[in-house]
């Protein structure tokens, strides 16, 4: 029985090449977008290198001041993190790092673009970078403003070439020579709080912003590491209270806001308190996914109606020779599921190719995307549901067809 359905499904698909192409394209394309998108989200949100202690960390990425008609929002200043946040009583370690800045450096007269960022020494305790060689800079080295650098594996390769060890050698960035003391595994640029090519002690920063800027706003990120996950709620509340006590820096502002949030919330923080970033992102993704899925479904329903009605003679014959309406509905749904699963398989293959291309083209620094097998599974399940939905209505309409009418319509 099933083999027979399979035969006829394939025959029908082959006969109506254009429609087959359109429906297969719709399904596989949708699935590809879904898989690539989730591979991306998965990587950005799910990959926890180097902040492996996310479950007991809160992130501070933004300070906003709002007035009636004006608003100012940016990452916090070093002073803000080092001075105000430190007043919190819950025991924490604060990792402070600047955003990454771009500059150029030269190797054998070849220009290469590098990103560097400043960190404190606690940064290396809070975050668990994999050191390929050497080690992090110490509190003492930071206090001494030592010109030392930790570089990424890619940076090492680009600057020094394929050599086994570079610790002790010097790297030049922004016209200053730094002694390399460690090499760490790469971080993708999408982890914007931890990505960089070169990491330097904050005390070597030429602009001196870390000591001169006594305002709330600046260009640093903070990661607050609590001793245990159960401290997070308390820490979060204490942070909120601390913020509430802060006075706006200028008259036109009437409110200061900033949050110490878990990773995902802080990642999508818009700086606007009324609409949380998570809400906006989740809504946007849901609407997008919904539209993405509803279109091929409608398309398929439509195609299926034409496809099935064209086969009214077949329906009449099958009924005359003993197929009940429900048997026919079953047949057409099976046919449709075969079609959608075929589309699903093509979609998966397509996704693999697309991800391979994205990975090998290095579109985004250090980002290695891979298919999320959970999503793959869900995607194929969604295909199955597509198959059902888009098959049920046409099949139901067809099964209502009167045999004599079906046989007459040629």
């Amino acid at each position: 029985m099933l083999k027979n359905y399979f035969k006829i499904a394939i025959a029908v698909l082959r006969r109506r090449k254009f429609f087959t192409f359109i429906s297969l394209f719709g399904i596989s394309f949708t699935l590809t977008i879904l898989l690539v998108l989730t591979a991306f989200i998965d990587k950005v949100v799910g990959d926890n290198y180097p902040d492996k202690k996310r479950d007991r960390s809160l992130y501070v990425s933004r300070v906003s001041q709002t007035g009636k008609n004006t608003m100012s929002s940016s990452p916090p200043s070093f002073y803000f993190l080092d001075h105000y946040v430190r007043t919190i009583k819950t025991p924490i370690t604060i990792a402070i790092s600047s955003g990454f800045n771009g500059t150029n450096t030269y190797v054998n007269n070849k220009k290469i673009a590098v990103n560097y960022k400043y960190t404190n020494s606690e940064y290396w305790e809070v975050l668990e970078y994999d050191f390929l060689e050497g080690k992090a800079f110490s509190k003492q080295q930071v206090a001494n403003s030592d010109k030392v650098a930790i570089i990424s594996a890619d940076m090492k390769k680009e600057y020094f070439g394929d050599v086994p060890n570079v610790v002790g050698q010097y790297i030049e960035a922004d016209n200053v020579k730094y002694r390399v003391i460690g090499v760490v595994q790469n971080v993708p640029i999408t982890s914007y709080m931890t990505y960089s090519d070169i990491y330097l002690p904050y005390t070597v920063a030429k602009d001196g912003d870390y000591k001169n800027n006594k305002g709330y706003q600046g260009g640093y990120y903070g990661i607050l590491l609590a001793n245990s996950a159960s401290d997070l709620d308390k820490l979060h509340n204490e942070y909120e209270q601390m913020i509430q006590r802060l006075k706006p820096e200028q008259k036109e502002f009437d409110r200061v806001s900033s949050h110490a949030d878990n990773y995902i919330r802080s990642y999508v923080d818009t700086g606007d308190d009324r609409h949380s970033g998570v809400f906006i992102v989740v809504t946007a993704i849901s609407i997008f996914a919904f539209i993405l899925m509803i279109l091929p479904t409608l398309n398929l329903v439509n195609i299926n109606i034409t496809r099935i009605m064209e086969r009214s003679s077949e329906i009449g014959v099958r009924k005359a020779f003993g197929a009940s309406s429900s048997t026919l509905v079953y047949q057409f749904i099976v046919e449709n599921i075969i079609l959608t699963l075929l589309g699903g398989v093509i979609g998966v293959i397509l996704s693999f190719i697309v991800l391979q291309v994205i990975n090998s083209a290095h579109l985004i620094a250090n980002l290695e995307l891979s298919i999320n097998f959970m999503v793959l599974f869900i995607g194929l399940l969604v295909c199955l549901v597509f198959g059902l939905i888009s098959g049920v209505y046409p099949a139901w309409r067809m099964s209502k067809l009167n045999v004599v009418t079906a046989l007459k319509a040629q």
């Binding site: 006829i8 025959a11 003679s313 005359a320 020779f321 003993g322 009940s324 309406s325 429900s326």
Partner: protein, 221 residues
């Protein structure tokens, strides 16, 4: 075998009401070969469809094998048609996407059979109509006469007691038509299959046991 009592069929469209069948009474005995004749539009196909339970009468009662048929559900009807009836149509109605063998196997799909049994029975049926060498062909690769023979094989593969044929030779030349007619006569004689056939051809009609004439929906003979 088949008993029709006071069958009426009215077709209603927006503007007109057509009385396609008017008080038709008909008894067909087991093993009988009956032909139905009449001018175009007199209701022959309508009558045959009602006998084949493909259409419902507006009034009247049909019994097949002494069994009332009016209250059967869709599933029961399907099963009834599958086990008792075989259809042959003027325009063959083969499924073009399927090979000859798969076309012939079709009625067996709707009963409990294994693939092996189906293949065996379908091959036998095709041998009966002399088409053993066309098993792997598609319907579009066959002549009209060959298509009708495939259709006959499909009608007989499930060994139904009754075969209903609506102008089975209508699209064929007389030589082909005679071949088809011979197959039907053999079937009736050797297997005792009851056959009801609509035809326009007097010669064919006279080869059957009995002839019923319809005129404007009424039985005249």
């Amino acid at each position: 075998m088949i008993r029709l009592q006071n069958i009426e069929k009215v077709y209603r469209t927006d503007t007109v009401e057509t009385l396609a069948l008017n008080k038709v009474n008909l008894d067909v005995a087991k093993g009988e070969f009956l032909s139905i004749m009449g001018p175009s539009g007199c209701g022959k196909s309508t009558l045959l469809n009602i006998i084949g339970l493909l259409d419902e009468p507006s009034k009247g009662e049909i019994r097949i094998d002494d069994q009332k048929t009016e209250n059967l559900s869709d599933k029961q009807l399907a099963q009834f048609r599958n086990s008792k009836l075989g259809f042959i149509f003027q325009s063959y109605h083969l499924i073009n996407d399927l090979q000859v063998l798969d076309n012939v196997e079709l009625p067996l799909l709707y009963r409990n059979t294994t693939a092996k049994e189906r293949k065996q029975l379908a091959t036998e049926a095709l041998a009966k109509v002399g088409l053993s060498n066309r098993i792997k062909h598609f319907p579009t690769q066959l002549s009209g006469g060959q298509k009708q023979r495939v259709a006959i094989a499909r009608a007989i593969v499930g060994r139904p007691e009754i075969i209903l044929a609506d102008e089975p030779t209508g699209n064929l030349d007389s030589a082909m038509g005679n071949e088809i007619m011979d197959i039907l006569l053999q079937l009736n004689k050797n297997d005792g299959t009851t056959i009801v056939m609509v035809t326009h051809d007097e010669n064919m009609a006279h080869k059957t046991h009995r002839l019923v004439r319809l005129f404007d929906g009424s039985q005249v003979q």
